[in-house]
């Protein structure tokens, strides 16, 4: 995977990671409903959790995750912000 610029907004970093994970070169809309529309499935959640924890230095309690937290890039970024503030 190519390096992701960690000075960018969380949304941009997550989008970049997702593009690499899914092998896409086109943009992914930050409000696109990723789970509902089947863009990501269960195994991608596992990769996303690992990425979010390592990139943003947060610890994700397994029992606090929900489909809402991963529904879109924007939702994931909000989740990251809420974890950083707590």
């Amino acid at each position: 995977m190519t390096a992701i610029d960690n000075t960018q907004l969380p949304e941009s970093q997550i989008e970049e990671f997702l593009k690499q994970l899914l092998g896409r070169s086109d943009r992914v809309n930050w409000d696109h409903q990723l789970l509902d529309e089947g863009l990501i499935v269960s195994m991608e959640i596992l990769s996303l959790v690992t990425f979010l924890e390592e990139r943003f230095q947060i610890a994700i309690d397994p029992f606090e995750i929900s489909p809402d937290s991963f529904s879109s890039i924007r939702a994931m970024a909000e989740f990251v912000r809420s974890k950083r503030q707590s």
């Binding site: 499935v41 596992l46 994700i60």
Partner: protein
Amino acid sequence: MESTSTDWERIYAFPALSRTDSECWERCSSYCCNPRRVTQNFCFFPRKGSELLILPGELEYLRRVQGMQQGCEESLRELRVPISSARTISVYRVTCTLEGRCSAREFRPLICRMYPLFPIVAPDGRVTGLAPFSLFDALFSMLKVDSPCVLCQVSLIEVDNFLSLCAELFKDPVNVFLVMAAHQYKTHMIDRLITHYPELSKEPESTFFSKWEKLFLTGKLTDQSALLRELASIADRIEVTFGAGSLGPLPEPRIDSTHSPGTCE
């Protein structure tokens, strides 16, 4: 590396355990095709259908003979199973939502044909035992409840057919590795579940699977570096039997840059 030595036509000629005439699906509501009893507790994993693994070489065979079953091609994802830090073997994951209504049953993937029996295979390809096929069946066993699958008690004739299929399948060391890796992965995960979350097995089934899903998706049920060491050990043992490089090209040896070519010590 794609499997090159498996005779998929011969593999698919073996009768599947869940034959069309067994009507087992009537007694379990097509549990293997649609494990609702488990998936109804999930938030992330698909609640409809089953996630299937297709072996290397098998995908090419299916596409060659008649194509993937309807709707499966769109969900196809490649999964790279590590042999070591430098080598991987690709398998393919599809989500089948046909729930048992597949039209060309003779082309059901291998995983559907072998279910519910999982072969315990040695590095030299010999089958040394049988286990429940799916991770969920192994978890039912941990919870001390019966699997919904009525074929879990099979006849000796069906076991004999199954073992003959395995003998053919495990002529190819890639298939030996992938099946051993799958067994190792399940064992690894269940061991971590028992060690780190022992209270979970006392939960009711619905809560158990709901919590299991979240532990799985947050990576709490696998120690990646330990698992990689276990897989590398399996690969080493297989290549002792089948030969170095039988699981794919070996990585190029690293050149020591402190020595110039032509320099004599």
